[in-house]
């Protein structure tokens, strides 16, 4: 289909009185997508230059949801910040709170009990599982496979139930504490956790079949939105986005934190399954699905190796805070979140609140790679490519097409329809 024609047609329908120019001087149009779009989770506005259906230039604009959390953090004490950090992102709540705790522990020299390290690891991996499966559903929706979306999200419910049973909440679990964790994983909870892992081991085959073997999904995603290894390195990509381009970067493998130093985790690239690395959307799907499998294995290993003992360095919060008030120094916490590396830098100066708190979420580094990914692609592929980095910052509900002084709103439905139409056309072509 031709998106340019659709836009023009709609424009004529809405404003019949205004004469339509027969000849246009300009070749390229500006297509602005966002800031709100239900396909992605948080707001960002894309400003694309398009020629026909081809994207020739990419720009984006953030700032819709800047909440000044870092500023607010410098007016709270470290224990209060844990809960603030948890609310940076609903999906990565364990990562941010744990990352802040690790940074503070590094400054104060607080030793975390071994059992707490293992519990942190288990929560981190449960979070990775639910985030990746959630993303798979979003990707299916973007491609126009809504039944697949419902199926994947149904599969995801199991891990959400496990987290609720373990921590008391599906998200914002309030489990992290400086020097350990707040709740133990009890002996009687282990069978439930193991049962869930078995469920995923069995269910993985079907999920893999749907995403990796379906010819339509393949033809929509293979060779789409390519990020080369060189671009990934130069633009400092992190997480599955980087790994799908063949960059073996994974904090779990590279740096010692939580229990990963005992576990020998290896970064997953598409090479593990496909034998080659292209860096396209399909590779990003492969990496995420393999990582779900890897997470299941890591949790099983943790349950086997988990030592007994204390779960937190200091149970009395006022005592902990008093200790932190007397500490000075800089500390950094690093964690591999589902979307990539999270870094927190904290500076304590012997006061109630930290002097500086810097949060770097993975999407921060995965913004610039959108440029090379979207360049030269079709407008109908924009939603799936933008979603393929799993941006933790939501997106595209409506698009404004500007042509000189005239504005035309291409809403979310129209945008998604373009994507669905492309899928249907492909379905017809492959005879399904």
């Amino acid at each position: 289909m031709n998106s340019g024609k659709i836009i023009e047609k709609k424009y004529r329908e809405r404003k019949p009185d205004k004469p339509v120019k027969k000849k246009r001087d300009r070749k390229s149009y500006s297509l602005s997508i966002g800031p709100i779009h239900p396909a992605l989770k948080e707001p960002v506005r894309f400003d694309l230059k398009i020629e026909g259906e081809k994207v020739v230039n990419v720009d984006f604009e953030l700032s819709q949801v800047h909440r000044g959390i870092e500023w607010a953090g410098t007016r709270r004490n470290p224990v209060q910040i844990i809960y603030l950090a948890e609310r940076i992102c609903g999906i990565c709540n364990i990562c941010h709170s744990a990352c802040f705790c690790i940074a503070v522990e590094n400054i104060a020299g607080i030793g975390v009990p071994a059992r707490a390290h293992y519990i942190r690891t288990i929560y981190g991996e449960l979070e990775r599982m639910h985030s990746h499966i959630l993303w798979a559903g979003v990707a299916a929706h973007e491609l126009g496979f809504d039944s697949v979306m419902y199926y994947t999200w149904k599969v995801r419910e199991k891990v959400m139930d496990v987290m609720e049973a373990l921590a008391g909440n599906r998200i914002t679990k309030g489990i992290m504490m400086i020097g350990g964790v707040r709740r133990d994983i009890k002996e009687k909870q282990v069978p439930m956790l193991k049962e869930a892992l078995e469920y995923y081991k069995k269910g993985f085959g079907k999920l893999g079949d749907i995403f990796l073997k379906d010819p339509v999904i393949k033809s929509r995603t293979v060779d789409t939105g390519i990020l080369s290894k060189q671009d990934g390195l130069a633009l400092c990509a992190v997480g599955p986005t980087a790994r799908a381009s063949g960059i073996k970067k994974d904090v779990r493998q590279d740096a010692a934190y939580a229990a990963y130093s005992d576990l020998d985790v290896k970064a997953i690239t598409p090479k593990n399954l496909l034998g080659e690395v292209k860096g396209d959307v399909f590779d990003r799907i492969v990496v995420r699905l393999l990582e779900v499998k890897q997470s299941v294995e890591i949790i099983e290993e943790c349950l086997k190796q988990m030592p007994k003992g204390k779960i937190v360095y200091e149970e009395k919060i006022p005592k902990l805070l008093a200790e932190l008030r007397s500490v000075e120094g800089d500390g950094i916490g690093r964690i591999e979140a589902p979307r990539g590396e999270v870094i927190h830098y904290v500076k304590l100066v012997g006061e109630e609140s930290p002097f500086c708190w810097k949060v770097r979420a993975p999407t921060y580094n995965n913004l610039l790679p959108w440029g090379p990914m979207l360049m030269g692609e079709q407008v109908a592929d924009v939603p799936i490519i933008a979603a393929s980095t799993d941006p933790c910052m939501s997106c595209t509900n409506r698009a404004v097409v500007t042509d000189g002084n005239n504005e035309e709103v291409l809403d979310n439905e129209a945008m998604r329809r373009l994507s669905v139409e492309k899928t249907n056309a492909l379905k017809r072509r492959v005879g399904r």
Partner: protein, 197 residues
Amino acid sequence: MSAVKIKAEEGKVLEKTANGRGKIRPEQIVNAFEKKFGKKFSARIETKKHKARKIVVVKMVWAKIDKSLFKEAVAFLCELYPRVHFSVASGYDLGKTIELIYHFAIGFGGSLEEFLFNLKVVLPKKDLVLESITDLIPGALISERELQEMLGVKIKGIPDSRRLFLPKEIPKGVYPLRRDSKGPEKLVRNLNEAGKK
């Protein structure tokens, strides 16, 4: 747009990046820097033990470089280890000076071999200008744009100097992470007036 422009211009750096392999230890980097920059560079290597079941030694470099040599230092780091990963830049206001810390991760891909190289540079309030490193590391653009809008540091030679995170409603000349008269205190006190003209 920035990312696209960068893509076209970055050819030279990229070839280097792709070829660079091999291990490097924190001590090697610090020694090389001390040899090259002498007294204008100082560093300490922080060693910590991470204990789960096994005990692993974790190292981190906290370095400081004179402002005039900052760009040269980053170029030297890229030369020493071409696959250097720029993580983020943090900064804070100390009254008379603003300190910026550039965090680089070095040595990914091995097993527990990566370490952080934190390069601090001190800028006096009277002369808040720092050179851009986007020609060496294109991925640093986001951080540089953030430093400009949050701390009011002027980045010389930045390819895209627009605001990134701050909404349009925040007036020009207000830098949210500053602790002096250019900070956000007035805005925060009068939140009820936000958005009114």
